[in-house]
Every structure is written in structure tokens, then in C-alpha cells.
């Protein structure tokens, strides 16, 4: 059923593409059905399991500890240790439900967001392909299967971010996101192979039960590589900047990929490998450091952004930092807090992104400076936004509050046990909590609650400039458009009151992370504890910061540009391009002869170095037969015509004597009975000679001065070196020593007919035994045709350099991220101080 669900999603994507959804009013509902079906199926499959777990909670722990609900295996490439194996357990269920549940809401929403967009079908196709990859990622029970789907999410997210491919911002964002996540993917595959080789299995469920992985000598390498993969995917410092850049994606993609699912893939990986790798101080400090920095950095920078999506993006970065920090710890409370945090975040951040999209769609802007008073024009949307934002702020009794309480409590518990790490994390989380409140309030107040210009102009009616700048609702959202975030928010609002039924679900997920049964329970009310006090203090501090936010924004705006990750990345990228240009100029900028010299010497030098190890005796030929009369004549012919080629004055003469060289070599092949080689060589000779004659007769006569002595000498030297290269290579290959060694030619001769079904051994080698080589050769040929096409068809102009788009300065970027042009945004000071 797991594989069937993934196939269902892929097929639905193709169907949605095929029906041209932008012309069908019901397409949104149709699109929501497959993910919804997957959600329902997962719930129905998991219910008996969870009930059973609840029943036996006191005694048997197997169901809670490492119990799988469903296991599926499919044979794939056994020789590589690849198999498609899926396994649904508590953690996979949690992620699977988030992916398919939020996916259903986003699928419905997309149809209304991309109203009348002709490429809606394409978007659905990419979105569903992404959804399938994501489901595969969290259900996979094999490291390599997981990796295949991991890369699938990278590629599909690239397509989704770059959906508006005519916008340079979207292309740049997509490229940056892809380079970072795919680069992390490369590190990850290395880490996974190390992990698989060291533990002796690629099956994840076996790896996590294998003890002693942290004592391996290679553990630090595995850890660093896996963390690189997870941190790049989950936008942890210092890779956090790609996530705000990826906000150029259409809002449904941002809501889905960049808050609910893809960025959680790194978190998922950390959680999945938590039982195997976490029992080491390196794990603790690595996750604590990077998670903590990410958490604070995201929380503080979120406040300064005017674009709703940018603000939410940094808030997401911060939340991802929180989850990473929590995963540093091994306590039951910490892993439970991770589970609650993931669920709560999906249920408030997803809707907030969707709301930002609705606002954008309805008013044409997401700029907080231009938005105000949406509570009057978009009442339902405002209600959704308020519930979600309050949850984000961690205000009781919403789900966000439960998440924050679990977070602070687990960290406080670690701190109370005298752990320094616990105190650090607790302090950082409290500070970040205050900023959570600040940006949530900012978002609520500036976009939705503060009195809008409509109210002002009703009374004064003179502030014309403000009215122009003020965005108004000109396109009321359809009901299903709002229904999608509403459904998610409703779930998030009910959840805290339904913690009892949810309990086994949460604890079984937590048990999958910790690898041991979890007896903690999430609760809405913990009583009057120091944690509650901290929470209240954080809220108070957050409100104070909110009131002083213009000061905060001014301070943050003064930070130097060069510290921004995106700028540093762009500079690095430009540096690489520059290096490429320098290399190209060094190796390809001169005449044809010098390029050929570089290529030939590059072949000659390594062989010359290697041949030094060969004793002269080794070069003795196997059979010492003196050349007969025909061979002698051929040799003489070859040498003479080669000499003539060099010395002859006219180009036509050179071509003809070159042809003679080629034909003499062909005759050698004939003498030594290699008909295939002879045929090939002959055809090549004929074609080149005819072609060269064709070209050279029409070219102007060469009027250049004779070649300089120095260059002539160089050419002679290179030619001699190349000749020596060929000579010694052949001598070595036919030497008695090498012939007596085990040779593969015997194998080819014996197996051509029985195994290759062909009596032409040369051809059987080409297309069967060495087919992979031939594949490479014809690929090179095709590439050469591309190069030739470019050379022969290009008009003689200088091609533009490969310099790409430079990142805009922060303010310019936030302006351009908006979907529509902003007409003269009001200066920040006035609006901020007005409220």
C-alpha cells in the first residue's frame, strides 16, 4: 500500500496535468482527493496499531519501541544493495500525515491561487511529483532508497521554486536552493555509504538498533557528512539563507515545501538516525550550536522584513533551529517536544503562508507597509491568520503554546540535571520565544488589525498619497481558497483539547525517534512551574519588543550587507566562474597548434612518468619476427608521406600526403587481419580527405609569415613526444611480459559466441562486453556535435560572459519579491509611528 500510495500520487499528478486544470472549476477538489485518500488510508492503517499500543502500554513495549505498522519490500538492483523497502512506523506516520494532510489543503488551494494560469497543470505535476518523493523519503527503510527520494525532493523543489521562470529572482532563488541542497545531498550520500559500510547494512531499522555506532573510528566523518546533508536541507546556519531566497516560489509551494515538508526532511533524517548516532557529545554540541544559532538568527531577523513571506521564511528558519536544538538532547521530553513541535508548526505555519498568498492574491501585495485593516475586507482570512499567528506566538491555549511549553520544559529538565548544554539551550529558547511573540504580533497588527486607510480617508479624506500606496482588496477570495488554511488552523486549534486521544500517536512517534518507549505525555497545562513563568516573561518581553519594533528594524537594517549568506554565496560563485575563465584563457586562448600541444602533452606526461618504472627488459617484444617485404614498404610509405605532409608547401599537397599516411596505416590493419579497424580507418580517411579538400580549396591562400623558429621547435618537440608516447605504449602492450600476464583478450575470444551471440569479436566487445564504454563514446560524439554546431553556426561575436545575476541589496530584493510592482511604498517611519 505504501508503494501504491506513492504511485497514486504520481499518476494523479500526470492526470492533473493532462486535464488542463486551469479550465476546470472542480480541478482543485479533484486535486485534493488523492492526498486526502492517502491521509485517510494512513489513519485507518495506523488506528489498530495505535489502539494496540495503548492497550499494552503498561506491559509490552515492543509496539511502542520499534514497532512497524507496515513493512513493504521490492526487489530492485540487488547487485548494488538497492531495494525499494518501505516501513511505516510512528515517526514515518507523523511525517506521512503532515505531508499528505497539508498536501491535500495545498492541492485545493493551488487551483485558486493559480487561477487561470495556463501552467497550472505543470505546477500540479511538479507538486505531486514532489509529494511522492517526500512520502517516499519518510517511508523509506533503506538508506539508498531514502537518498533517491531525497534527491527527488531537491529536483522537484527546484522546478517549483523556478516556476515563474521568466523572473530572474525566481531563477536565482531556485538555483541557489538547488546548489545548496544538492551539495548537501552529495555529502549525505557519502555519509550514508560510510554508515552503511560500517554498520554492515543499509536497512535503517536495523541500523538504529545496532549498538556501538558512536564508538566507530569513522563516527566523526559519518556525523559531519550526515549533518551537512541535514543542515543544508533544513536551512540551518550557515546555509539558512537559501530558504528566504526560495520564497520566489508561488505561495502554495512555499507553504508546502518551505514550511511543512521539505525543510523538515533534514529534521526527519536527524530524528530517524537519532537512536543510532545521538549518544555522543559531538552530536550534542554540533546540533546545539548550529540549531541554537539558527533559532536566534531566524527569530531576530524575521522582524525586520516587510514582505510577509520573507518574515514567515525567517520564522520558519528559526523554528527549524528549535527542532534541531531539541534533537541534540536524548531525553524523553525532548523527543516528545520535537514531535509536538513538528505537528504544531505544520498546523500554524502552513496556514500562515496560505493566508499570505490569499492576501497577495486579493490585494496584489504582501508588503506590510502597504497592508492594513484587512480585518474589514477579509474577515475570515483575518480570523484564520489570527488563530495561526497566536499559535505561532505560543499563546495559550493554542497548539503552539503546547509546543513551546514542551520545548521549554524539556530543556529546563536537562538544565536542572546540571547540564551546561541544557542551560544554554533553555536560555536561547527563551530569547527566541520572545522574538516569536514579536514577529507574530507584528504580522497580525500590521497586516490585519491596525486601522486601514479606508477608515482614515473616511474621516479626513485628504491623505491622497497614503491612499495611493494603500493596497485594497480588489479580488475577493473564493470560499474554497480560504477553506484550505481554515481546515488546517481548525485542526491546530482543536488539537490541544484532544491531546488525550492523540497521546499514543505522539508517543509512538517520539518512541521512534528515541528508539525506546516514551512515557512522557504532552499536556496543555503543566501547573505553575518555573517554565510557565519563563514563558510568561518571554511573552511580556515579546510584547515590549513589538512596541519598539521600529527601533529594532532600524538597528537590524544597519547590519553590513557583506554578512548576508546570499551575498557571500554569490561572491563565491562569481569567483568560481572567474576561475573557469582564467583556466579557459590559459589552456584554450591560443592557436590551434598550442591547444593540440597541451592536449598531447597531457597524455604524454603521465605515461612517461609511469613508463619510468618499467625496466628496459620488460619492453622486449613477445615474438621477434622481422618485418617482411610488404611491411617494410608500408613503413617506408608511411614515413615518407608523413615527412612530405610536414614539408610540402601547398595545403592540397599536405592533405593528399596525409591521406597516404592514413591509407598506409589501413593497409597495416589489412595485413594483420583486422578488417573492422581497416574499414573504419579507411572510411574516416576518405571522409576527412574529401572534406579537407572541399574546405581548403575554398579557403584563402595562407598569407601569414612563416612560422617562428621557436614555435617550430616546440611543435617538433611535441610531435616527437607524442610519437614516443605511442611507440612505447605499443611496445609495452605487446611485450613478452605483458603478454605472459593474464590477458583479457582470451576471455573475449572464448566468450564472444556463447555469451555475446556474435562471431565478430570486435563488434561484440563494442556493443556488448564494453557497451558502457561505447555509450560514453557516443555521448562524447554527441557533445562534440553540439560544440561543432555552436562553432560553425555562431555568428562571430563575443559571447556574453557567464556572470549571473548579482543579488540585490536587501531593500531592493524585498521590493522585487513582491508579485506586483509596488508604486512608491511610503517611507517606513511614518506608518510605523502612526500606530
Amino acid at each position: 500500500m505504501l508503494a501504491a500510495s506513492i504511485s497514486l500520487i504520481i499518476i494523479s499528478g500526470v492526470i492533473l496535468y493532462w486535464i488542463r486544470p486551469h479550465k476546470r472549476p472542480w480541478a482543485g477538489w479533484l486535486a485534493a482527493l488523492p492526498p486526502l485518500a492517502v491521509t485517510v488510508w494512513q489513519v485507518s492503517a495506523a488506528l489498530p496499531f495505535l489502539r494496540g499500543a495503548a492497550g499494552t502500554e503498561a506491559g509490552s513495549t515492543s509496539a511502542l519501541q520499534n514497532g512497524a505498522i507496515i513493512v513493504e519490500q521490492y526487489r530492485w538492483i540487488e547487485s548494488l544493495g538497492l531495494e525499494l523497502s518501505f516501513r511505516l512506523d510512528g515517526l514515518s506516520l507523523l511525517f506521512g500525515l503532515v505531508i499528505s494532510g497539508v498536501g491535500a489543503a495545498v492541492a485545493l488551494y493551488t487551483h485558486y491561487y493559480l487561477e487561470d494560469d495556463e501552467r497550472q497543470g505543470y505546477f500540479y505535476l511538479s507538486l505531486f511529483a514532489f509529494m511522492a518523493s517526500m512520502l517516499g523519503l519518510v517511508w523509506a527503510d533503506n538508506l539508498l532508497t531514502l537518498f533517491v527520494f531525497w534527491e527527488g525532493t531537491s529536483v522537484t523543489s527546484y522546478l517549483l521554486i523556478g516556476y515563474s521562470h521568466q523572473s530572474a529572482i525566481a531563477r536565482g532563488g531556485a538555483r541557489n536552493a538547488f546548489i545548496v541542497t544538492a551539495g548537501g545531498g552529495l555529502a549525505l550520500i557519502a555519509g550514508m555509504i560510510l554508515l552503511g559500510q560500517q554498520s554492515g547494512t543499509y536497512t535503517i531499522s536495523e541500523i538504529v538498533t545496532r549498538p556501538g555506532l558512536t564508538e566507530l573510528e569513522l563516527y566523526p566523518a559519518i556525523l559531519v557528512l550526515v549533518l551537512l546533508g541535514a543542515f543544508t536541507k533544513s536551512a540551518q546556519f550557515p546555509f539558512h539563507w537559501w530558504l528566504p531566497g526560495a520564497m520566489a516560489a508561488p505561495t502554495p509551494a512555499s507553504a508546502y515545501l518551505h514550511s511543512a515538508t521539505m525543510v523538515k526532511a533534514g529534521i526527519y533524517l536527524l530524528a530517524r538516525l537519532h537512536p543510532a548516532l545521538s549518544d555522543h557529545p559531538m552530536w550534542l554540541w554540533a546540533l546545539l550550536t548550529f540549531g541554537g544559532i539558527t533559532m536566534l538568527l531566524g527569530a531576530v531577523t524575521a522582524v525586520r522584513h516587510w514582505d510577509m513571506k520573507a518574515l514567515l521564511a525567517y520564522a520558519t528558519v528559526s523554528q527549524l533551529g528549535v527542532l534541531t536544538t531539541l534533537l541534540a538532547f536524548r531525553s524523553e521530553a525532548a523527543v516528545l517536544a520535537v514531535v509536538v513541535g513538528i505537528l504544531a508548526h505544520a498546523l500554524y505555519k502552513g496556514p500562515l503562508f496560505l493566508v499570505a498568498g490569499i492576501v497577495d492574491h486579493a490585494t496584489g501585495t504582501r508588503d506590510l507597509r502597504r497592508l492594513a485593516g484587512l480585518r474589514q475586507s477579509l474577515p475570515v482570512t483575518t480570523a484564520v491568520a489570527l488563530l495561526a499567528a497566536l499559535s505561532m506566538a505560543g499563546i495559550p491555549p493554542l497548539f503552539g503554546f503546547v509546543a513551546k511549553e514542551s520545548l521549554l520544559e524539556s530543556l529546563f529538565e536537562s538544565a536542572r540535571h546540571g547540564s551546561l548544554a541544557g542551560w544554554i539551550a533553555f536560555g536561547a529558547a527563551a530569547v527566541a520565544g520572545a522574538f516569536f511573540v514579536t514577529y507574530s504580533l507584528t504580522l497580525m497588527w500590521e497586516a490585519f488589525l491596525r486601522p486601514g486607510a479606508n477608515a482614515e480617508t473616511d474621516t479626513s479624506g485628504q491623505d491622497n498619497a497614503a491612499q495611493v500606496a494603500q493596497a485594497t482588496v480588489h479580488h475577493a477570495p473564493a470560499a474554497p481558497f480560504v477553506a484550505a488554511p481554515l481546515a488546517l488552523v481548525a485542526l491546530g486549534t482543536i488539537a490541544p483539547f484532544a491531546l488525550k486521544p492523540l497521546d499514543t500517536f505522539l508517543t509512538s512517534s517520539a518512541a521512534s525517534i528515541s528508539g525506546a518507549p516514551v512515557h512522557k505525555h504532552a499536556a496543555l497545562w503543566h501547573g505553575f512551574t518555573p517554565v510557565l513563568l519563563t514563558s510568561l516573561l518571554a511573552i511580556a518581553a515579546g510584547v515590549w519588543l513589538f512596541l519598539n519594533r521600529s527601533f529594532l528594524r532600524r538597528t537590524l537594517a544597519q547590519l553590513p550587507e557583506n554578512l548576508r549568506g546570499v551575498v557571500i554565496f554569490q561572491k563565491t560563485l562569481d569567483g568560481i566562474y572567474g576561475l573557469g575563465q582564467i583556466t579557459a584563457r590559459f589552456s584554450q586562448g591560443y592557436t590551434l597548434a598550442s591547444q593540440a600541444a597541451i592536449v598531447l602533452l597531457a597524455a604524454f606526461v603521465p605515461v612517461a612518468v609511469a613508463l619510468r618504472q618499467v625496466a628496459p627488459n620488460d619492453l622486449l617484444p613477445a615474438t621477434s619476427v622481422l618485418p617482411g617485404a610488404p611491411e617494410t614498404i608500408l613503413i617506408l610509405m608511411t614515413v615518407v608521406s608523413a615527412y612530405v605532409t610536414v614539408r610540402v608547401r601547398t595545403s592540397l599537397g599536405a592533405i593528399i600526403s596525409l591521406g597516404v599516411v592514413g591509407v598506409s596505416v589501413t593497409l597495416f590493419y589489412v595485413f594483420f587481419s583486422a578488417p573492422d579497424l581497416a574499414l573504419t580507418q579507411l572510411l574516416i580517411e576518405v571522409l576527412t580527405v574529401v572534406l579537407l579538400v572541399l574546405v581548403f580549396t575554398k579557403l584563402p591562400p595562407d598569407t601569414r609569415p612563416p612560422m617562428q623558429r621557436l614555435k617550430q621547435a616546440r611543435n617538433v618537440l611535441v610531435a616527437l613526444a607524442a610519437g614516443a608516447f605511442g611507440f612505447f605504449l605499443v611496445l609495452f602492450n605487446t611485450s613478452a611480459k605483458l603478454q605472459s600476464a593474464q590477458s583479457i583478450s582470451g576471455y573475449f575470444l572464448h566468450n564472444a559466441v556463447p555469451a555475446g551471440h556474435g562471431s565478430n569479436v570486435v563488434n561484440v566487445i563494442l556493443v556488448d562486453f564494453r557497451a558502457f564504454d561505447t555509450m560514453g563514446e557516443i555521448t562524447v560524439l554527441a557533445l562534440a556535435a553540439l560544440g561543432g554546431y555552436a562553432l560553425l553556426n555562431a555568428p562571430r561575436v563575443n559571447l556574453p560572459t557567464a556572470r549571473s545575476l548579482r543579488p540585490q541589496s536587501e531593500s531592493a530584493e524585498s521590493q522585487q519579491v513582491e508579485s506586483t510592482d509596488v508604486a512608491e511604498a511610503p517611507k517606513t517611519g511614518s506608518t510605523v509611528e502612526a500606530d
Binding site: 538492483i77 574529401v690 574546405v695 565478430n760 561484440v764 558502457f772 555521448t779 560524439l781 561543432g788
Partner: protein
Amino acid sequence: MPELYLRLLNRILTPVLLLLAFYLLFRGHNLPGGGFIAGLMAAAAFQLQILSRGHVRVRRTIGPYLNSSIGLGLAVAICAGIVGLMEGTFFKGVWLSLDLPLLGYLKLGTPVIFDLGVFLVVVSVATSYLLGLSRASDTSARLREGSASPVRSDIHTTDRPELNVDPTRRADS
């Protein structure tokens, strides 16, 4: 216009060369021949065409298919490898024996399909080079004569725009 004997040779030899190419392609697994050689042979046929009819006309006939058949050849070759993947490993040879009523016993295998892909790539790459180079030499020859503009000759059709049209006719229409 090229010499008469070339045009006559072209008439006779091109079909022969192409048939020979296919012959070499399909017998290649057991006797000298194969995708590379057959591809070069077919390219020789096109070279003869270029020599006798001029590259513009040849390009008009086969030009549009050249680039796509490079890709097609690669795709065919990869597909042959993927068939092997289904049976075990990439590029594992899979053979099918057919007993056809008229043609007799026929053995068809993925290596033969792979060879077909090689043939397609070789013939298209070689021909596109032949066409490109003959155009380049043509353009430079014209540049040298100073009679023609350096624009690509094949964009404009061979029939030149009528330069000596009576100006009054144009005014009438």
C-alpha cells in the same frame, strides 16, 4: 553546378552506399561491420550528396532531422541498456530468438539495438559536421570573392530575391 559525372555518380551510388550501410550494420555482429562503420558509410553517402547537389539542398532534405536523431540514437542506446537492467544489470545482453517463416531464423538482442543507436549517433554527428564545414567553407569563399554578404547562405533560399524587378510593378501592386 557540379560536373555531370558527379551528378550521375550520385544518382547511382547514394542508394548503393545507403544499402551497404544498412547491410554492414546488421551483419556487424558476426562479420566485419557494425554501428560505427555503417554510420561512417552512410555519412559518406551524404557527403556525395553534398558534393553533387550542394549543402543547401541536402540540408533542406535531412537537416531538420539531424540534431534530433543524435538524441534519438542516444535514447535508443540507453534503452537497450535499460532492457538489460530489467533482467539484472545495466547493459546485460538480452537475446530473443525468432523463427520467422520467410526470413528464417532471426536472433534479435539488445546489443543489436544498441548498435542501431551507435549508428544513428555516428551518422548524424558526422553528417552535421560535413554540412557545417561545407557551409563554412562556402561562406568564406564568398567572402573572399566579395560578392556576397557574410550572412548564412541557407537562411535565404537559393533563388535570390529578384533585384531587377521593374519598380513600376511594385508601385502598381
